[in-house]
Symmetry: C2
Subunit: 90 residues, 2 copies
């Protein structure tokens, strides 16, 4: 993972609301965007914005099925991010 992506991820996590959304995504193998909206009080516009940030950071995989978006955590990237962070410790 290059340092650019690393920092994009770090910034993507920095907003608490966005982090919580990501945590929600991580709970399931896959979740629909509309399901997230049922569980988190948030406007569609704002959720769309956060999704774009998470996708931009490479943290999620987005699959479109009809009207719906299905979201998955990219667990391999997440593990890479964690091991990158762990390097700080020496």
């Amino acid at each position: 993972m290059d340092s650019e992506q690393f920092h994009r991820i770090t910034k993507a996590l920095a907003d608490p609301r966005r982090f919580n959304i990501l945590a929600r995504i991580a709970k399931d193998k896959e979740i629909a965007c509309s399901d997230i909206r049922c569980q988190v009080p948030i406007t569609a516009a704002t959720l769309s914005h956060h999704m774009k940030e998470l996708a931009n950071a490479g943290l999620i995989e987005v699959r479109k099925e009809g009207q719906f978006l299905h979201i998955k955590l990219r667990r391999k990237i997440w593990r890479e991010y964690l091991s990158q962070l762990a390097k700080l410790q020496g």
Copy 2:
């Protein structure tokens, strides 16, 4: 670690310059603020600001000795943060 501190940490890491400073701190057992300034091009005011953010997040321990500040990574906190992050993975 409560969620408030967790989010303070994620925000503290979100600025690349500040993250790099933290990484520099982590490299040594302890480092003087003035040494950091020799190694990173940054004004004293900005460095002071970043130190405050890192301290506020609980990531560093600050020891004053005469005119100098000596900075240490709080490795226990860092480990706690990592393991908190790892919980996302399930």
